[in-house]
């Protein structure tokens, strides 16, 4: 935290950290969604895996993506930034694919996933979050070197 107080006028600093400032809010939201998706997947799989295996596996996959992005944001640095960018793109693609899929073929999903109906059950945050994160990560570009 001490380094971050040495910010210059433009808000860009040598030790630019992905998890600071607005990034802190992203870390929090990604953390929340990691817990939400993971606990949802675990509880549902334990209770009745046979009811909607596809939906539960998709929730579990979402949890893994969220966990990785959270970790990358906290870790920081150019490599983590690129990795997080790729994951955010995958996340956005996942939300859009699963969202369309759940609307097109409701019979494939007897139970909802985190990404059903474009994340409507989660206030559409699953769609908004990857876009916001990608904007943030792009802005962070150049300040972390490459």
């Amino acid at each position: 935290m001490a380094q971050s107080t040495e910010a210059n006028g433009t808000g860009e600093k040598p030790g630019f950290d992905l998890g600071q400032g607005p990034g802190r809010l992203l870390v929090w939201l990604y953390g929340v969604f990691t817990v939400a998706a993971a606990s949802r997947a675990v509880v549902q799989m334990l209770l009745d895996f046979g009811k909607a295996p596809l939906a539960y596996l998709l929730s579990a996959a979402a949890a893994v993506v969220y966990a990785f992005i959270t970790y990358s944001l906290v870790r920081g640095g150019p490599r983590a930034r690129r990795a997080a960018l790729v994951c955010c793109a995958a996340e956005l693609a996942g939300v859009l694919t699963v969202g369309t899929w759940t609307l097109a073929d409701k019979s494939a999903f007897p139970d909802a996933t985190v990404w059903s109906d474009y994340g409507m059950g989660y206030l559409f945050i699953p769609v908004i979050l990857p876009v916001t994160a990608m904007l943030w990560l792009r802005r962070a570009e150049g300040t972390t070197g490459r």
Binding site: Q20, R24, L25
Partner: protein, 119 residues
């Protein structure tokens, strides 16, 4: 009893969210008063957790399942303190935004808890 506490906690969470959102809009970090507010909300959430567990032990069954009910109770108790700790490390307006987001999460959890308990 549970319903009244759920309602109170939901409203308290929204008030906290608005308060910290106000600090965010004024470009302020979280202050001592905000942390006292967070503590009050957290105490309410912990009370809800204890009462919920006691009611379960007493033989009550939530409409949508015990495991989900307990998971949401734990999430509700953890969300505001977790956001509070993050705002301790982020002494800018974004720390306030984080607490505000945490309080909104709690309010949403309370709505879900109401559904899970009552069907």
């Amino acid at each position: 009893m549970i319903d009244a506490l759920t309602l109170a906690l939901g409203l308290a969470a929204l008030a906290l969210a608005a308060w910290c959102g106000f600090a965010f809009s004024r470009d302020q970090s979280t202050k001592d008063w905000h942390f006292i507010g967070m503590a009050v909300v957290t105490v309410l959430a912990l009370a809800q957790l204890v009462i919920g567990v006691v009611r379960l032990a007493g033989g009550d069954k939530p409409a949508q399942g015990t495991a989900i009910f307990v998971a949401y109770l734990l999430g509700a108790a953890a969300s505001v303190p977790a956001a509070g700790f993050m705002s301790l490390a982020e002494r800018t307006r974004w720390g306030s935004a984080t607490v505000s987001a945490g309080a909104v999460v709690l309010a949403v959890l309370e709505v879900r808890l109401y559904d899970i308990w009552g069907g």
